[in-house]
Amino acid sequence: MSDAAVTVSGLTKVFPVPFHREPVIAVRNLDLRIEPGEVYGLLGPNGSGKSTTLKIILGLVSPTRGRTEIFGRDSSLVESREAVGFLPENPYFYKYLTGEETLRFFGKLCGLSGSRLRERADQLLELVGLTNVRSRRLSTYSKGMLQRIGLAQALIHEPKLVVLDEPTAGVDPAGSCDIRNLIVDLKRRGITVLLSSHLLAQAQEICDHVGILANGVLVREGRLEELIAIENRTELVLENASDALVDRINALATSSNAKLIARRRSTTTLERLFLDATNNPKEKS
């Protein structure tokens, strides 16, 4: 028994391909350990085995070799799914249900009922910003709205672990910023988050730990800061600094055997620009 949120040991998944001699090896001998309370990013190019790994952790696909556990309970046991909420990639739900009915349906599957269920559904619709379309059928939802309702259903039973397969795929910048804030909020509340992504800038902002998969093999693994830190460099960001001040700092650096490598005007990100420009009053109502 371990107290990790997720453990994956010696995991291999081979998909036989019909009429082909060569089977696809989606995951090769993967070992992972995700501690409670951290945000873990599983990164990798298309087809590198991210979704397959997540599905095996959720018990949706059976491993060819090795085992996976959620809070010490084997993924093949139905009970292991009590503590976890899952958002599949490109989620698709019953399109004849409304947003609210969808949440109620999944809530019931998690054993919620009555006023507790109604409360949770209201809270989550609010949280993912779908309150005003709650009684519209999902057939009229856009891709980003489906992603949000998917996120809401993953959180309906207040799981201790949330597994998100490309949570921001198809969501606009404001939405993906919301989802990012949501993940940060989950982490603040002590909830473990395991997410897959190939949007590196986003992963860099929120992940504590990352693992990089390539062709089903874990090629890099570790704490994000440690992985991307350049040991002998330090950055300073100054506001209202005069040229004279910068020159003085430069001189000071040279005198103590350091070197100023770059000196540039700070820029905003395109994302910030986009968010400021599109954040009109209509959104806020």
């Binding site: 976890v84 909420g85 004849y96 998690c110 507790r116 039973h157």
Partner: protein, 300 residues
């Protein structure tokens, strides 16, 4: 697991609340199928139109009415059972809705049972609608015939009139219709469960439907074939085992065909009804377990 998560109780390996959630959701899905309404309207029209069929005597009229109506009900529910069930699970797998459901603490067995009971509920709704139509038509025709007879026999002695009315009543609405309807329903349940089983390993919906149509016909001929086979071969244990296997794959649907007896107004012995009901429930249960078994091993 010390801290309580949202007041959720310990996980139960079978929960009626979860099954019920899947059942109602499946029923909603099915009532949105156009084919359901088309078939239902068609069956109702057939039952209603039997009023206008040629008639010589009232006995014949009621016979035709029952024959056509029960026949329509039998075919309609069988067809609906097969068509509605065939795409249920493949559709969920294709749309990946099954991922979100099974990623919740829902055992696969509950998912299968929930889907099936959704179909069974749909079948019972359509059965109720059709039975209501059938009994209403039968009742109206009975009343008409009773009035006509009374008018024609107004001069006849009292006992003669009473005899005539009793004869009409007994050949129209009688209690033997009820087991007939129940058994038609059970046949549909059995077919739905078998279709669900086939759909868990079929690669396309067409395959499932074709297989089910073949099973439907063979199932009706099975009893005859078995008798023929038993004449030709010895009744060793191998033969019996083989026949049992055949009976499992091709259920003896002829057993569920009590319509002919009902039409002629023959009383159906209670023992036979009970035996058929038990057989229907048995088959349905077996197929449900087989479907769940295959679904457990299935790569989604």
């Amino acid at each position: 697991m010390s801290n309580k998560t949202a007041g959720i109780n310990r996980h139960r390996s079978f929960s009626l609340a979860r099954v019920f959630a899947i059942t109602t959701n499946t029923l909603t899905e099915l009532t949105r199928l156009k084919v359901f309404y088309i078939l239902l309207i068609f069956a109702l029209l057939l039952i209603g139109s039997s009023v206008f069929m040629a008639r010589l005597t009232f006995q014949q009229e009621f016979q035709i009415l029952k024959d056509v109506s029960l026949g329509a009900m039998s075919i309609f529910t069988s067809l609906l059972a097969i068509i509605a069930t065939a795409r249920l699970i493949p559709q969920d797998i294709e749309d990946r809705t099954v991922y979100t459901i099974l990623a919740k603490p829902v055992p696969r067995f509950e998912y299968i049972v929930g889907k099936l009971t959704g179909v069974l509920l749909l079948l019972s709704i359509s059965m109720l609608v059709m039975s209501a139509m059938f009994l209403a038509v039968l009742y109206l025709r009975e009343q008409t015939v009773l009035h006509e007879t009374l008018r024609q026999m107004s001069a006849a002695p009292r006992e003669q009139i009473d005899d005539a009315l009793r004869a009409i009543r007994s050949s129209a609405l009688n209690i033997d219709i009820l087991p007939g309807i129940v058994i038609i329903y059970l046949k549909a349940c059995l077919l739905a469960a078998l279709t669900l089983f086939v759909s868990t390993f079929a690669t396309t919906n067409i395959f499932t439907i074709v297989v089910m149509v073949v099973i439907y016909f063979i199932g009706h001929l099975q009893a005859t074939a078995r008798e023929y086979w038993l004449q030709e071969h010895s009744t060793g244990w191998m033969t019996r085992a083989f026949l049992a296997l055949v009976a499992l794959i091709f259920p003896d649907l002829q057993t569920f065909n009590l319509v002919d007896d009902i039409v002629v107004g023959a009383a159906i012995p209670l023992g036979l009804v009970a035996k058929t009901v038990v057989l229907g429930v048995f088959y349905t249960t077996i197929y449900t377990f087989l479907a769940a078994f295959v679904f457990y091993g299935k790569e989604l």
